[in-house]
Each structure stands twice: as structure tokens, then as C-alpha cells.
């Protein structure tokens, strides 16, 4: 048994520990900078130009949460999609005779592990490039390190603005950033709910606050005059009933929501089931995935509006999706065709298209130049062609509004999809690009 004093001390220690853990979840940026900035290895552009490249292979790594975290539910299917596409390319002989040697690094979604894994991939495995790193805080811990070593850091899978502001020659984002995305959702709200009251519900971190900023910019774009109120929730909490309740007490007419999938689902349940409130909800594209519908309940989520940036896995009449489905069935038969495996495949496809353009003499410089020279690049899931430049490191500059739709043709087996509506919204920042000269044998390489 504890003595009374020990008990009191233990009590205080527990409380402090709990408080620290809560605070820690929102504040790992500092650690991240330490992890990224302090490195004594000689580095810089031009160093190790051909590390990871031989005449018959090129080594490419990814940094994904694969274990010890629920984010593995995202990391595992993504990695399967990425690998399936490379296996397909390798089966066709590779690019200029080089097969892709693909290595998955596990970050466990934490900055410390990500930092260690990135060093292992770079210093022991000797990778040529990194692709598709997932998780803002995990990638914060490594992006400066990759930049200093001059390693191509391709197509980061989070939407923060930090990756491309300022632009670094070696680093490319993948998703539309949260400010641009929020802006497009804000324009929708401004057009459809002008003069009414908007309630913003946002996660209390960079993700939520960038989205909030975007929503407000979008209202300005639309010239809408709307009253506004904002509620935040902490990322450690799943239940957002109290926040939804406050928005209802504030009599908002529409909700703009920047939350992660579990909290998003909780919000829909709270509004529709707990409060019996049919307020329109406009929600970040992060949640335009099938699982949010399953968690929230189809009846609760039906009618919600969001955005996507590419064709989706359910669009089985789109030729690109059909091809992806075949590739996945052949090279990763245990993986389900969904928007995650699809993202993995289209991300690898984008890297392959840069490898083709870089030509036979592959160096990090030629690779990065090829990535910046992209002009009218189309992949199987693209909505529009994509252009890149030295000042534009964001391949995805298009959004499509989608609405949560339930098809009840078979009442026992309702089908849920995020169904596209309205025109495509493009905001391509590289307007006049010139298609680069294809290197020798370009057309002979598989894609």
C-alpha cells in the first residue's frame, strides 16, 4: 500500500502525466525541428547524385505508419497499392531497364520513429528517393534532413502548406493544401448559404486551423456576408457532441467541418441522432472516404458535401480505374480496391512518369528537373492534366464537389458513395507550360 504522502504525490504525478500527454499531442513541432535540423552528415545538392541507382535498378523508399498505431489502417493499404504498381512496371521490364526496388519504412506515425527510419533508409539502404510520406508530424521530423541531403522527397501525403511554402527543389506535395481546399468548400458555403450563419468546427491544430482559414477566404471569394462562430476540439478526443451542441445553441444554419475521420463520424452521429438536427454539413476532403460513412451511419451522413481531387475506386466505368483494378488484382490479390490502394498506385504512377522523363542517365538532378518540367501529365485517376514548374511543386490543383449519397435500390444492401456533382474547379498555377522534349526511348517505357 502507498503511504498517504506517496499517494498524494502519485496522484499529482498522474494528473501531470495526463496533462502532458494531452498537451504533447498538439505540440510535437519542437521535437520535430530538433529531429530535422541537427545532422552532421555532409549534404547538399549535387552530393550523392546517383546513390541508389544501378544499370538495372533504382531504390525508392516510402515512410508510412505500418504498425503500433491505428494509422496503420491507412499505411498498409497505401503501401500495397504503391508496391503493386511497381511490380507491374517491373514485370514489363522496368524503366530504361531499371527495376524499382521498393522499400517500405515504418514510421509508426511518430516523429521519433520516422526520423530514425528515414536515416536508416538513407544511410543504410542508400535509397535514391522517398515517396508518399504520410503524417504531418512524422514528416516534419524528416523533411529538413531530406532537404539537406538533397534527396527527392516526392508527393507528401498530407495537405499542410508548409511543404511548398517556401518551395524546396527536392520536395513535392501531393494533396491540395488545406487552405486551398477549405477555400473551395467556403465558396460552396458562400454561394449556397449567403446571409445565414456559419458554424465552423475544427481540430485544434495546424490541420484544423488551415482549414478554418481557407473556409473564411472562400466566403470572401463568394462575396458572402455570413455571421460566423468557431468551435474547436482536441485531437485526442473522439466525442464531439458538446461542440455540436454549442453550434446548435448558437443557431448556426450550416456547419463547415475540419476534423479527422473518427471525429467527423462522431459529429454526424451527434447532430442527427443525439440532437435530431438536420443542419447541412460541409466537410474536408480528408473525410470523403468510404469509412466515414460506415462509422457515421449512412442515414446520418447522407447529403453531406465535400471534395475529392481524382477519380474514385467505385467509378468502375472509368478506364483508368478498370486498369488499376486489374493491376491490383494481379499484384496484390489480398488488397481491396478502395481509395487508399488507388492513391498508392497513382502515386507510384506519378513517380514512374518522372523516371521516364528523366531519361536513361538517371541522377537526382535529372530526376528533380524532370519532376519540375511536368506538363499536361495525365495519370489513370487524374481529373485534369497537371503542370509543374520550379515555382509549382503541387501536382494536384483541381477539386470536384461530392455529395454523400446512399443508393437504396437494394434495401438490404444500401450502397454508399461520395458522388461527384457540379463542374471541376481547377486552380492550376502553372498556366503556360511547354511540354519537355522526351528523352530517347521514352515511348518504349511502360507507364
Amino acid at each position: 500500500m502507498f503511504r498517504p504522502k506517496a499517494l498524494a504525490l502519485l496522484s499529482l504525478a498522474l494528473i501531470l502525466l495526463a496533462a502532458l500527454a494531452v498537451a504533447g499531442c498538439g505540440g510535437t513541432d519542437q521535437e520535430a525541428e530538433v529531429g530535422g535540423a541537427k545532422t552532421a552528415i555532409p549534404a547538399g545538392p549535387g552530393v550523392g547524385e546517383t546513390i541508389g541507382v544501378t544499370d538495372t535498378s533504382v531504390k525508392i523508399g516510402t515512410l508510412l505508419p505500418m504498425s503500433n498505431t491505428t494509422a496503420a489502417a491507412w499505411g498498409v493499404p497505401l503501401s500495397k497499392g504503391m508496391k503493386a504498381y511497381y511490380d507491374y512496371i517491373n514485370d514489363k521490364g522496368g524503366i530504361y531497364g531499371r527495376k524499382i526496388d521498393f522499400i517500405v519504412g515504418d514510421t509508426q506515425y511518430t516523429p521519433a520513429v520516422a526520423s530514425e527510419t528515414a536515416r536508416k533508409l538513407v544511410e543504410q539502404e542508400g535509397i535514391f528517393a522517398i515517396q508518399g510520406s504520410l503524417g504531418t508530424e512524422a514528416h516534419m521530423a524528416v523533411y529538413k534532413y531530406l532537404e539537406e541531403k538533397g534527396i527527392p522527397d516526392m508527393y507528401i501525403l498530407t495537405g499542410n502548406t508548409i511543404w511548398t511554402e517556401p518551395i524546396s527543389h527536392n520536395r513535392f506535395a501531393w494533396l491540395v493544401d488545406y487552405i486551398d481546399e477549405g477555400r473551395i468548400l467556403g465558396q460552396y458555403i458562400g454561394k449556397n448559404f449567403d446571409g445565414k450563419k456559419l458554424g465552423i468546427l475544427a481540430q485544434n491544430d495546424d490541420f484544423g486551423k488551415e482549414g478554418e482559414k481557407g473556409l473564411k477566404l472562400g466566403l470572401e471569394d463568394a462575396g458572402a456576408k455570413m455571421e460566423m462562430t468557431t468551435q474547436y476540439y482536441d485531437a485526442t478526443q473522439t466525442d464531439v457532441t458538446a461542440q455540436i451542441q454549442r453550434l446548435r445553441t448558437d443557431n448556426v444554419d450550416v456547419i463547415g467541418y475540419y476534423g479527422m475521420p473518427a471525429q467527423a463520424a462522431s459529429g454526424f452521429k451527434a447532430a442527427r441522432e443525439t440532437l435530431n438536427w438536420d443542419v447541412p454539413i460541409v466537410i474536408t476532403g480528408v473525410d470523403a472516404v468510404e469509412i466515414v460513412g460506415r462509422l457515421a451511419g449512412y442515414d446520418n451522413i447522407e447529403g453531406a458535401v465535400s471534395v475529392v481531387y481524382g477519380h474514385q475506386a467505385f467509378e468502375s466505368d472509368w478506364p483508368g480505374i478498370q486498369e488499376y483494378t486489374e493491376i491490383l488484382a494481379k499484384y496484390a490479390p489480398d488488397a481491396a480496391m478502395d481509395n487508399l490502394t488507388l492513391t498508392g498506385m497513382s502515386l507510384s504512377e506519378a513517380v514512374v512518369s518522372v523516371l521516364r522523363q528523366a531519361g536513361r542517365d538517371l541522377t537526382r538532378s535529372s530526376f528533380l528537373d524532370a519532376a519540375e518540367s511536368g506538363c499536361n501529365v495525365v495519370s489513370r485517376a487524374s481529373l485534369v492534366p497537371s503542370n509543374m514548374s520550379a515555382t509549382d511543386h503541387r501536382p494536384t490543383e483541381v477539386e470536384q464537389y461530392v455529395r454523400a449519397t446512399v443508393d437504396r435500390t437494394d434495401p438490404n444492401n444500401p450502397k454508399f458513395t461520395w458522388k461527384p456533382f457540379g463542374d471541376l474547379i481547377t486552380f492550376e498555377s502553372t498556366k503556360d507550360c511547354k511540354e519537355p522534349t522526351p528523352p530517347a526511348d521514352f515511348d518504349a517505357q511502360p507507364q
Binding site: 496522484s11 503500433n68 498505431t69 491505428t70 489502417a73 478526443q237 473522439t238 454549442r246 443525439t274 435530431n276
Partner: protein, 292 residues
């Protein structure tokens, strides 16, 4: 005023989630003297078990009771395999073991059931329109969780204060040597503590999963608050656990409403630290008397 009442009610429902987990923590502390950091993970693991049973036979209450039986065995197993070898060592050892259990159960659950959150069924009686109490709406699930915590608390009270086994358990927790000298089988009593707490944890997990969704980390957020609630109430008091949990929920909600939703958690913890400075044993903690 209506806003105040509504937020107070919502605070009580949020708090009832914390209270029921805090209750399981208190139970194990009271009967074994150990603070069980793995309480949340044990509950999560049992909730996944319930989900598997429910998938096999989609009757909620059948799954519920089968899971309770499994949970009892699970609690006993953990005590026998993981805790018994370190029980006689320094007081920190069992605590470290429970922290190890957190990692083990997390990885196991991820391996068996994968990480994507899953929807979890609620029993039919918790579905339907929210109940209106005056100007406040409160969901049936939360009312159910609240009533369940009260029921469990009453059962615990009866068990510890009106039965011989309960008395023996309290004696064991207070002084193992004296307990064994008067003929109490100390090992069995400790195992029983884990059995009970595992069962309460399982109930908590199954009631919370429709709200928090089923995933290996489902309890992480709520467990912090449950710890705080248990400490606030006084680690060895079931009544304290419930009062502590409800207080946490209400303070958090009031702070979120009247100060700002971005600092509700900060304010809640500041309030708790302030209370503990004045009452280090917690609101309902008994003053331990020790001969020196």
C-alpha cells in the same frame, strides 16, 4: 440559462464516460493497491472480443454476457501470468508491468483486428430520439452509461461492504501479511480484483464503443480523463470515481462554453490540480492511517 442547463447536461453525459472507466481503475486499486495503466487497453481488447462474438451471433445482449465471462477469465489470466510474479517486489514493478501490457495489447489488437475504426452496435434500448429533460436534450446512450455506472457502483458497494469475500478483499489490499495470517488466500483475492475490474472495463468498453468507435486506440483519450477523474475522486473511492468523472465532464464543458473550446482541457486540468492542492487525497479519498 437554457444554454447553461444544456451544457451542464452534456457535461454530465461526457462525464459519465469518464466515470465508468474511472470506476474500473478504482476497483483494481482498492483491491490490489495497483494503479492499472492497462485498464483502457484491457477494456478495448474485450470490446473487440465482443465485436467478434457479435459478428458471429448478432444479438447484442448475448455478445455482452459472453464477453463478460471471457473478461473474467482474461482478468484472472493477466493476474496469474503477468502480475503474480512481481507482486511481492517493489511497488513500482507491477505498475511497469501494466504499462508493458498497454503496448502488448495494443499491438495484438492491431494484428488481430486491424487499425481502421469500426462501427459498434448499440443495444436497441439506447437508440431513438434523445430524451428531453427540461430545456436539455440528452442522448439515450449517455443516460444508459450513466445508469450503468450507478448500478455498478451500487453492486461494488454491496459486494465490498456486505459480503465476506468483499471484506477479505479489503483486508488483503490494506495489509497482505495480516490478511494471510488470519487465513485469507491472498493470491485469490488479488486475482478476484483483476477479474472484477476486467469485467467493469469490458462493460465500459462495450457501452462507449458506439460513441468512440472501435479501434485499438479508442480508450486512449478517455483514459487520461478517467485517471484524472479517479484521482480527483480519491483513488480508492467508487463514489469518488463517479463524482470525479462527472465533475471532469462538467468543468470541461463549462470551460468550453464560457471560456473557449480551444482551452477546455487545459482549464479542466488546472481545476483538478487546484482541487488536489487543497485536498491531496481527492474529494472522497480516505485518510490512510499508518503507525510510525
Amino acid at each position: 440559462m437554457d444554454q447553461f442547463i444544456q451544457q451542464f447536461a452534456t457535461g454530465l453525459s461526457t462525464g459519465s464516460l469518464y466515470a465508468i472507466i474511472a470506476l474500473a481503475l478504482v476497483l483494481i486499486y482498492r483491491s490490489t493497491g495497483i494503479v492499472n495503466f492497462a485498464q483502457g487497453e484491457m477494456a478495448m481488447f474485450m470490446t473487440f472480443t465482443a465485436w467478434s462474438v457479435w459478428n458471429w451471433d448478432s444479438n447484442f445482449w448475448l455478445a455482452f454476457f459472453i464477453t463478460l465471462i471471457i473478461a473474467a477469465a482474461f482478468g484472472a489470466l493477466i493476474e496469474l501470468v503477468a502480475l503474480r510474479p512481481v507482486e511481492s517486489g517493489p511497488v513500482l514493478n507491477p505498475i511497469i508491468v501494466t504499462i508493458g501490457l498497454v503496448l502488448i495489447l495494443d499491438s495484438l489488437a492491431l494484428r488481430i483486428w486491424q487499425g481502421q475504426p469500426k462501427p459498434f452496435p448499440s443495444p436497441a434500448m439506447f437508440k431513438g430520439a434523445p430524451l428531453s429533460i427540461g430545456p436539455a436534450d440528452i442522448s439515450r446512450t449517455n443516460v444508459g452509461v450513466f445508469c450503468m455506472s450507478l448500478l455498478i457502483m451500487a453492486l461494488i458497494y454491496l459486494f465490498f461492504n456486505k459480503t465476506k469475500v468483499g471484506l477479505a478483499m479489503r483486508a488483503t489490499a490494506q495489509d497482505r501479511v495480516a490478511g494471510s495470517l488470519v487465513g485469507i488466500r491472498v493470491g485469490r483475492m488479488l486475482a478476484l480484483g483483476w477479474v472484477l475490474s476486467s469485467m467493469v472495463g469490458a462493460v465500459a468498453g462495450m457501452l462507449l464503443a458506439p460513441t468512440l468507435f472501435l479501434s485499438p486506440t479508442m480508450m486512449a483519450g478517455a483514459l487520461l480523463f478517467a485517471f484524472a477523474a479517479a484521482v480527483l475522486g480519491g483513488l480508492d473511492s467508487p463514489v469518488g470515481a463517479i463524482v470525479g468523472g462527472l465533475t471532469m465532464g462538467v468543468v470541461q464543458n463549462m470551460a468550453g462554453t464560457y471560456i473557449g473550446s480551444n482551452i477546455d482541457i487545459t482549464v479542466a486540468f488546472v481545476v483538478i490540480i487546484a482541487i488536489l492542492l487543497v485536498r491531496p487525497r481527492g474529494l472522497f479519498g480516505r485518510k490512510a492511517i499508518q503507525r510510525v
